[in-house]
Symmetry: C2
Subunit: 365 residues, 2 copies
């Protein structure tokens, strides 16, 4: 693996869309006891169900800590590769490399990672193992790695259509805990240099009470060039309504890099989901303080799906809207099977299916 200090754009590389063909997918076996209740017991079952679904149509590589290797190996299908890899938590979307392609070869990008806000408003300390994971994953799959560790970015804060358009939120990319010294224009330039982006569409905020400072991947996602889904509620008394309405207004008044209007498909939200006292009791404290409080609202959204080669795997919450979310996604992805997975035990950790996956694009060499 070469460490590269050039820019993908100058080298002819760009970030493909998630709905482009994959080589595979990276996940991290959950272990952190203040993120995942009961020693991650329930989370591991949910991860295993997801991994089995993804591995039907692409290669899955699961990172496990030394002490968790046997647990992962035993719970996962044989076609899944389990590799030893240290991590602070299990959010592959945010700590694994973002991959770029020139159409034949892929390379990884190693962004800086500071646990969603560093010492300003990050979620845990330290985060050194997570921050080292991207480079090591490139080594794992024997692909060169761009060093952009001086720029803080998580994969969950960006979505691209693979044709030059990027979706993100101001709440996250302009947050004080990321790159406070950079202007909006400087950030756009960085996204252009690194991902080949020609047009950034800035939504204001992400899902209400999303502790990632409003990652885009929980509220809005491209389903095709010129098409996006948006998390939606009709309940005007819900603080989420104004947020989603603000996103809709921006999307409907925007054009993408190719000059197209964007067709927005509303994806209904489940009713607000709150963590129970029993669930909170299953979480270790962090530095003597609980990480969650009983009754706290969790950032549940169907937008947090993963697109594999053969499927779209969508969170389910035991909500009346579960089936409707699957139906809408199935209409938008007619060539893939939409699979719902009950993911409350992932949600409790602070994210969902998209947050715990990172695709590796297909490559010829």
């Amino acid at each position: 693996m070469r460490i590269l200090h050039t820019t993908p754009k100058n080298d002819g590389f760009y970030m493909p869309a998630e709905f482009s063909k994959h080589y595979g997918c990276i996940l991290i076996w959950p272990h952190r006891r203040d993120s995942w209740q009961n020693g991650a017991y329930a989370a591991r079952k949910a991860f295993a169900q997801l991994i089995a679904a993804i591995s039907k149509s692409e290669k899955v590589i699961v990172c496990a800590r030394y002490e968790d290797y046997d647990s992962a190996r035993e719970m996962l299908p044989p076609e899944v590769r389990v590799i030893e890899m240290s991590s602070d938590d299990s959010w592959a979307r945010d700590v694994a490399p973002t991959f770029v392609t020139d159409g034949k070869e892929i390379r990884g990008i190693d962004w800086g990672f500071n646990a969603w806000g560093g010492l300003y408003d990050g979620l845990y300390f330290p985060w050194d193992k997570d921050n080292k994971l991207a480079k090591k994953m490139c080594d794992q799959i024997d692909k060169d790695c761009y060093d952009f560790r001086d720029f803080i970015l998580e994969g969950g804060s960006i979505h691209t259509d693979g044709e030059g358009t990027l979706l993100t939120t101001e709440e996250c990319l302009l947050s004080k805990g990321r790159n406070p010294e950079m202007t909006k224009e400087a950030i756009e330039q960085k996204l252009s240099d690194t991902l080949g982006i020609k047009k950034v569409i800035w939504l204001k905020r992400g899902i209400y009470h999303d502790e990632t400072n409003g990652h885009i991947d929980n509220i809005c996602a491209f389903t095709a060039p010129g098409e996006a889904v948006l998390a939606w509620t009709d309940d005007k008394n819900d603080p989420q309504y104004a947020i989603s309405k603000g996103c809709l207004d921006i999307l409907e008044s925007s054009t993408d890099a190719a000059g197209r209007k964007i067709t927005v498909h509303k994806l209904p939200l489940p009713k607000p989901v709150h963590i129970t006292e029993e669930e909170c009791e299953g979480l270790d404290n962090m530095d003597g303080e609980p990480t969650r409080t009983a009754g706290e609202r969790l950032a549940a959204s169907y937008v947090n799906f993963y697109i594999s080669n053969g499927a779209v795997i969508c969170p389910q919450f035991g909500d009346d809207n579960d089936a409707q979310a699957v139906r809408i996604l199935q209409s938008l992805f007619p060539d893939r099977e939409v699979i719902g997975i009950y993911s409350r035990d992932i949600l409790i950790g602070g994210g969902n299916i998209h947050c715990i996956t990172q695709q590796i694009p297909y490559f010829e060499r």
Copy 2:
């Protein structure tokens, strides 16, 4: 990766010779402070020189502990893959899988490992990380793994000609710290079932003062079917003389699995090598006791070479016989370049070039 409980022999698999075509080679980045002097500083330089030489003609995968990844990555060429992997020490020959092939596909064997003798006369405790490495390496390269953890065996204690003959020593395979409940016949049966061996040639002992209980790979190795090199001294006052003479007598009176007489090439030993006081001072104590004593004789031998696709890489000790050893090996491997590497800093750890390498045979799929 599937965990297999059948036998390679029944599945049509056997262990190919080291001089057959390789996919690559596995090594482990040294770190153990009671094995490698001065925090493995000098050892790492020697490992890096060896790895660079091997990587010229085959893929090299280097296992590094989490905390050593950056050191390995920075000291090694970019074409080498560095992966995170916990280990107790750095003897890939003995802890990485032994691979078997059916001519197209390869599979790994996960032997039991107990640090060369377990609680009887093993060299360190615990050894759990080493014992878990073989299975995890199979997962790394996405190859199925035979579970033979109930049989204690190190790769350094066997050499095969790839045509059904295996060389080993009674000192090691019949040692009380390995499989004391098994008869010689039962061990032969196990080598047959696992490696496809039809004929075992039992030498009595390995190199004088070799702390592995006389591993074969330090005293005798096949260079081709029907041809072997034997570590040799003409000094009848050296305790090594009787050992080598005993081996010679057995070899010259043996035939291999194909019924051939074995041509033995004497490879001269260097003059006895002793560890210095300064070298000992660079080693941490183990459980309050020094691991080596100044003046202790080290098991130096030119037989501990590694055969890569394009080269034979041979230990050098700054001895008058260094050049002669290279010349003899060059005459036996006319199609490969014989490269000498000064390896005193590996020898201090207790082994040499062959001990820290494990080949991955070539595979088609």
